[in-house]
């Protein structure tokens, strides 16, 4: 197709797109098979490794996050546990039940 021709109709566009199929094919660099063989040998030598082992930074970050969350939870619950302990102290008991200090020794 002549490049100077305006592309107005479908057929001309179709023709233009189809011309891409006529581009010379790209070929890999020499010794492709040798490189492939080296890759396969390397894969077989190292075997399969999980992603957290290949990128330990991610595993460490996840571990750090778990530690922080646990520490936060521990702090939160220990704080609330302290407030409940207050109720169970002697003062709390006295405030709740207001016992008298006198002891009646009726039978004595």
């Amino acid at each position: 197709m002549n490049e100077s021709t305006p592309l107005n109709d479908d057929n001309r566009w179709e023709q233009r797109f189809s011309q891409l199929g006529e581009l010379p094919p790209e070929t890999p660099r020499p010794f492709f098979y040798t490189r492939l063989q080296a890759r396969l040998e390397q894969q077989q030598a190292t075997g399969w490794t999980p992603i957290w082992l290949r990128r330990p930074a991610y595993a460490l970050s996840a571990f750090g996050l778990i530690v922080v969350l646990n520490a936060g939870a521990l702090f939160y619950y220990s704080d609330s546990a302290t407030t409940t302990d207050d109720v169970t102290t002697y003062d709390g008991f006295v405030a709740d039940y207001q016992p008298t200090n006198s002891i009646d020794y009726v039978n004595e």
């Binding site: 797109f17 891409l20 581009l23 070929t27 890999p28 660099r29």
Partner: protein, 193 residues
């Protein structure tokens, strides 16, 4: 040796058959990967990945589709996955640079096509190829398989694991986008600008 004989030998684990298989298909696999990725080094890497996958999964090939179709499917899937990974890496370039252990390229590498290849391509071809590379992934894959590899809609549908009508829709949208993008260029050329 016919394709079915080659397949039998491949499944039996013959290294000679594997070498013959690679020699036969390496150009087609590499060419498709290059058309989808637009970079020689990345295409080489993906082509190796494709053959490595074939080596490992050849036993799972049941012959429901043609062998070349199966190979095209692996190449397309690997290439699109590579593009997605590349985009994710770019998007989180800062974070990955903190975490990354390898010195991977995070920028667009220059076009490393051979000079003689560039001479063969006209300016219009390069512009068109650049526009194709900017299409969404599935549209780009459908366009490349149909127009550059010359595959019929039916085979493109099998490769992309979709229906023929979906392929038609993808191609329709791809062509509409390309026409919108390229129309001003062709108008300029025809006006002598």
């Amino acid at each position: 040796m016919t394709e079915s004989e080659l397949l039998i030998d491949l499944k039996a684990g013959s290294e000679t058959a594997f070498r013959r298989f690679v020699d036969t298909y390496q150009s087609r696999v590499y060419n498709l990967a290059f058309r989808l990725l637009g970079d020689r080094d990345e295409a080489d890497d993906v082509a190796q990945e494709v053959f490595a996958e074939v080596y490992e999964t050849i036993g799972q090939f049941r012959g429901e589709a043609a062998f070349s179709t199966w190979l095209y499917r692996i190449t397309t899937t690997q290439s699109l996955a590579h593009l997605r990974k590349k985009r994710t890496r770019k998007r989180f370039a800062f974070v990955t640079s903190l975490f990354g252990t390898s010195n991977e390229l995070l920028h667009d590498p220059p076009d490393t096509s051979q000079p003689e290849q560039l001479l063969v391509q006209t300016e219009a071809d390069q512009l068109l190829l650049r526009s194709v590379s900017q299409l969404p992934d599935t549209q780009r894959a459908a366009f490349t398989l149909h127009y550059m590899e010359g595959l019929p809609y039916k085979e493109v549908a099998v490769i992309l694991q979709t229906t023929v009508s979906a392929v038609e829709s993808l191609l329709h949208r791809a062509k509409r986008q390309l026409r919108t993008k390229l129309q001003p260029y062709y108008a300029d050329v025809s006006n002598g600008n």
